[in-house]
Subunit: 444 residues, 2 copies
């Protein structure tokens, strides 16, 4: 028989226990923050009808990146490349029953056929947060607050910036200030979107190549500058969408989180769903200066299902870029912190007493706020070997079960971090262990 | 534009918030129990190379039930129909680094093209628990303890039964007692496997049709009877595999959990991986008398990757049958229990004060053990409308923010369950709320 490869499919990840601890820690922080704002978790199937994506998802994704198949009943299905179509379908199905405002989140795994590179994988998890059924200013404000709360939930009090724009302002600049024609807008929009990554001069040259006049080019270049807001304020002062953005940032200031936000008229977020506010969150770390995630407001997510228009706002946050952010900013806890107790027997005769002790300890720990792993040894060992195994297994403490201990009903426990030894029956060991343990593991 | 369907793909589920609460509650219970035994969570990609399943998975699954596709790089991939091949691949990749014993679990979603029916869906989640690298008796004992602990973690102190068998005992019965030839064994095994579902007499008739003698038929029928163990004890007394089962059940008795286990020589669990102990857990509820889940011991899971033999034992537990078990035994908590606080403003002028109050409350709740949703209203409302919205949103309490409250810095809070009203600044409201709330929600 030929030997199979042990490697996962290109662009995907195996989550060994240490990676899974990180993933679970990140997801549990996200869930905790979102719950405090009243967001409810949802999920849908991994496979959806192909047409769901053909209708609204970008052509690039559908034509080049979608994983799709035909089932044994001749239905064409796709593995979800994004969550929004599933969200729209689910909301549309119960549009009249769901209480407003709808505050929902999900952390699905998504698939896209991409050339794997740093920050881009074929399978990734993406937090999706959306709210519907309120008013634009209050919903936009809430979504901005949620973003800051999520970052604070990870301990990030700086190191990132949320760049805000509004599709209506962009439209006004393109049509009224630049006098661009409909056919030019998508091209110029895409150039503006990628401009920050271009070498100096390339943006202007590209615009000239598209036939733009020097005045138009100058205005477009000014959008990329830090003081764009002040420059534009005169020309945009009466635009209601610009006023919306100014109102939004003023309210964020009043809530004490304004420093995380900045108006940036170059933010585009593609040309698909969005119709109002758009946002993009940037990592400001010099080694990782890139977009972390983004989102925006849409007028009518559920329209393709034939229901009433339902405006909303949301964002999506990928796990790969988020993990880089947390790593580079040293915000991940040490997942290798020893945890739990290793209960080992010295001779075959103590196997069952050790099992009973473990059962007793698990029972005593079951009401604790922190889960305490109680691992038993599966074969008798000498003390030296027991220490080695306990360390390899990442135990915090080791309990020895020898013939005398069983007789007395008292056991030796050694804390492998502090070196402290304790002797006593199960309740004594438990109290000693919990006292030092709980404050150190942070429930990881 | 034609209207798309809002229904999920056949045989799959949408998890609206209430269903997601159930799923999260079930998964968190599973995780808690498994962590107390020192099991570590892992996960792998949704797609694996097709050959991974072609090698070991049953022909029925590969030929009739697998969802597969060819990617844009001409690689043939399958959506995982079971987790064991991924587990084997991952363990094989790091066989020499992983500390023993390996105790791992995962809760993947799996896909099979099945005719949807009660308890069988095309997408389901399945808890997978496995341990490797120890000794058969101690590992088997631990897996049996884990099963009981999981059921106890859900509050199930009865209502199910774990039926144990051993592939070596079955082999001895087939070859030595029944003198079956190699070519007959798979057929007779499959008949025995499905015998409990057959109408009276059908099993015997089927065996006769296969050419079995009356003596052989009588012995096979006796395997299905409750007293099979006593009947067989004489004939099997010296068989080491039978001794293993008797030793195992004696140890389970000594740990006080023996009542949940029963030797049942008719348990087969298919003919694939298993080589030692096999087990099947049955729901004993009269309305749901069926197999809940099962597992067993395998000699060499990683062999197809060319590593050293690595014996282990494990089981898989599907979420659909588990949920039925919990529902029918009334073990699910009420997910509709009101939770959290709804903070509503009466006039536009109190929108920002309400937002600030919410921010303050969330901050104060952030150290609590229980996540408290603090939901704000997104537009001003009259008190009557505020009550209705709070109830629809499932809030436990509502706080009104009117002009006088803002002036005084004191707010009215009403507990929607007890009717108790409290007035005061944020800290007072928080203490009052937590006192009644924490003990009632159980962290759901």
């Amino acid at each position: 028989m030929s030997t199979l490869s042990t490697q996962p499919y290109k662009g995907t990840r195996d989550f060994y226990p240490m990676d899974m601890r990180v993933r679970n820690w990140i997801f549990s922080r996200l869930r905790k923050t979102l719950r405090t704002f009243g967001y409810e978790e949802y999920d849908g199937p991994m496979l959806e009808p192909f047409e769901l994506y053909a209708a609204k998802t970008s052509e690039e994704i559908v034509n080049e990146q979608l994983y799709w198949l035909v089932d044994r009943g001749e239905r064409k299905l796709a593995i979800r490349p994004e969550m929004t179509p599933t969200l729209a379908r689910m909301v549309a199905a119960k549009q009249n029953e769901l209480p407003r405002p709808i505050r929902w989140f999900s952390i699905p795994n998504l698939w896209r056929y991409e050339r794997p590179q740093r920050g881009r994988l074929r399978e990734h998890w993406q937090l999706n947060v959306d709210t519907f059924g309120g008013e634009p200013i209050t919903e936009d404000l809430e979504i901005c607050q949620v973003i800051v709360a999520i970052m604070q939930g990870f301990g990030a009090e700086s190191g990132y910036e949320v760049r805000l724009n509004h599709r209506g302002v962009t439209d006004y600049i393109f049509r009224e200030l630049l006098k661009l024609t409909d056919d030019k807008i998508p091209t110029i929009g895409r150039l503006l979107d990628t401009a920050p990554k271009m070498a100096p001069g390339v943006f202007a040259a590209s615009l000239a190549k598209e036939g733009l006049e020097p005045g138009q080019i100058e205005l477009l270049e000014s959008l990329l500058k830090k003081d764009a807001c002040t420059r534009l304020a005169k020309q945009l002062g009466d635009n209601p969408h610009f006023k919306h953005l100014m109102d939004l940032t003023a309210k964020l200031d009043a809530l004490g989180v304004g420093t995380f936000f900045r108006y940036d008229p170059s933010i585009m977020r593609g040309f698909m769903y969005y119709t109002g506010m758009v946002l993009e969150v940037y990592d400001l770390h010099p080694e990782n200066n890139r977009a972390l995630f983004g989102g925006g407001r849409y007028d009518n997510l559920v329209g393709m299902f034939g229901g009433n228009a339902l405006p909303g706002v949301g964002f999506g946050m990928g796990d790969v870029t988020l993990r880089y952010f947390l790593e580079i900013n040293k915000l991940l806890p040490d997942m290798k912190t020893p945890r739990g107790i290793y209960i080992a027997h010295l001779e075959d005769e103590q196997f069952m007493p050790a099992q009973r002790l473990a059962q007793d300890m698990r029972h005593r720990f079951s009401d604790a706020d922190v889960d305490v792993p109680v691992m038993t040894s599966l074969s008798p060992d000498k003390p030296r070997k027991i220490f080695t195994t306990a360390e390899k297994l990442g135990a915090r403490a080791v309990v020895f079960v020898g013939p005398d201990d069983v007789k007395k009903g008292e056991f030796q426990m050694k804390d492998l971090v502090t070196g402290v030894q304790t002797q006593g029956p199960a309740p004594t060991l438990m109290v000693t262990f919990m006292t030092t343990y709980v404050n150190e593991t942070h429930g990881v």
